[in-house]
């Protein structure tokens, strides 16, 4: 159990997907302007990650040992289909959320955080339960990063910053400082 909790906490804080692995930067820059949207995007990503982790485990266990060169292609196909299903479900269940997420929902397919999850899981040989905990941790960490950034950006909108810095450069500098802060969690390793 301690091992599983460690996988979850490490994926969420110590090795946060956004701040440590630089995965999922496009939605991180694109959807982090409003808190509510950021939270929903995080949740949608968490959900897709969970399903991807389960599918990737099945592929790794039953199919890929016989065709390792198909690993990348099969992962991508599975992720694309999962995103398509999630998109249809969200469109049916919550049209508001569907409109809010806009272009970023189909773009979850090319969100490197999702493929990254499947690849890390393969490289580290996680068993089924470990994969689930890893996916939940990574999803929560991604949501945390988005929400933190959204709350900072909402404050920044009101701040009087020099015109040169405004925009993407400032978001990156803030992300650098946040990443520095997250490095503090590395102390938990000891």
């Amino acid at each position: 159990m301690g091992d599983l909790m460690w996988i979850l906490v490490s994926a969420m804080l110590v090795n946060n997907f956004v701040f440590f692995y630089f995965l999922g930067l496009c939605p991180f820059m694109g959807v982090s302007q409003r808190m509510a949207t950021a939270l929903r995007m995080g949740m949608a990503t968490l959900f897709v990650m969970l399903i991807t982790a389960v599918s990737a485990w099945f592929l790794n266990a039953f199919i890929l040992p016989w065709a390792p060169y198909l690993r990348l292609i099969s992962f991508i196909v599975v992720i694309a289909s999962v995103v398509q299903i999630v998109e249809m479900v969200i469109k049916k269940v919550s049209p508001t959320l569907f409109r809010d997420l806009g272009i970023f929902l189909p773009l979850i397919t090319t969100n490197c955080a999702i493929l990254g999850l499947a690849i890390f899981q393969t490289l580290r040989d996680y068993a089924f339960v470990q994969s689930i905990f890893f996916a939940v941790g990574a999803g929560l960490g991604f949501t945390l990063a988005l929400v933190l950034m959204a709350s900072i950006r909402m404050e920044l909108d009101l701040a009087d910053v020099p015109s040169v810095v405004k925009g993407t450069a400032l978001v990156f500098l803030v992300a650098g400082v946040l990443s520095l802060a997250f490095m503090g969690f590395a102390g938990m390793l000891a």
Partner: protein, 246 residues
């Protein structure tokens, strides 16, 4: 889409519409593996290879791919070339392949590559697509090498593993750690915005070239132009304002 000359197709991606520094595409690998010049070079060349080959193939097959499933088809073709690049790197330079880790397979998710397929290769003849892919690939290579040079120089005091500053140099460890990536790209973008603002205020307040700037309205340049506009507006205004009459 307006007509372009072959030369424009090639040159555009290198600086004016640089995929990383201007369009903000494909940032994950640029930030993640740019801690040394050697890693940056390997990643840049691998991405160039994937982009070039998939552009050529997709442009050749552009009339055969049904419109509804084009994105999935593009991704499958890209994934095929990434698999080729992955296995080739593993065979040729295993050390660097190990250092790049999961980021080689993640080239599939590089939005720069998919973006060029959707915006260019799926609509244009093969020759033009090859030129466009080459230009964009070189632009990517320049950006990632720039990042790699700055980070390795400051973070380890060396270039391509060769010590430059002697033993008294205290390396900025932070630059080769993840926060260094964010800070470096932040500062590079800041310099570009500052340069653009200077250029915009030096010349007459010309509109910023189309497609430049992260969100189509670069704040820095936009406000630079706004600073200029009231003055022009005032000059124009005095003609019709009663106080301006002689």
């Amino acid at each position: 889409m307006k007509a372009t000359t072959p030369r424009e197709d090639l040159v555009r991606g290198i600086w004016e519409e640089n995929p990383v520094l201007v369009q903000m595409l494909g940032l994950c690998p640029v930030l993640a593996v740019s801690n040394t010049v050697a890693n940056s070079l390997a990643m840049g060349v691998a991405s160039f290879f994937v982009l070039f080959c998939s552009s050529v193939i997709i442009s050749t097959m552009r009339n055969l791919i049904p419109h509804q499933v084009r994105i999935s088809t593009f991704i499958l073709i890209i994934a095929t070339f990434v698999t080729v690049a992955d296995f080739s790197l593993e065979a040729v330079i295993p050390d660097i392949h190990r250092a790049l880790g999961p980021y080689v397979p993640l080239i599939v998710c590089n939005c720069m590559i998919l973006g060029r397929q959707e915006a260019f290769a799926s609509r244009r003849p093969v020759g033009r697509s090859a030129l466009d892919a080459a230009g964009t690939g070189i632009g990517f290579l320049i950006a990632i090498l720039l990042m790699g040079t700055v980070r390795e120089l400051l973070g380890s005091g060396s270039l391509m593993g060769v010590e430059l500053f002697g033993p008294s140099f205290e390396p900025w460890i932070i630059m080769i750690l993840p926060p260094g990536g964010f800070l470096t790209i932040g500062v590079i973008l800041l310099v570009i915005a500052w340069w653009g603002e200077r250029r915009a205020s030096a010349a007459k307040p010309a509109p910023w070239p189309e497609g430049v700037g992260p969100e189509r309205t670069p704040a820095g340049v936009g406000s630079g132009a706004q600073d200029k506009n009231p003055r022009d507006g005032r000059n124009g205004f005095e003609h019709i304002h009663p106080s301006g009459r002689r």
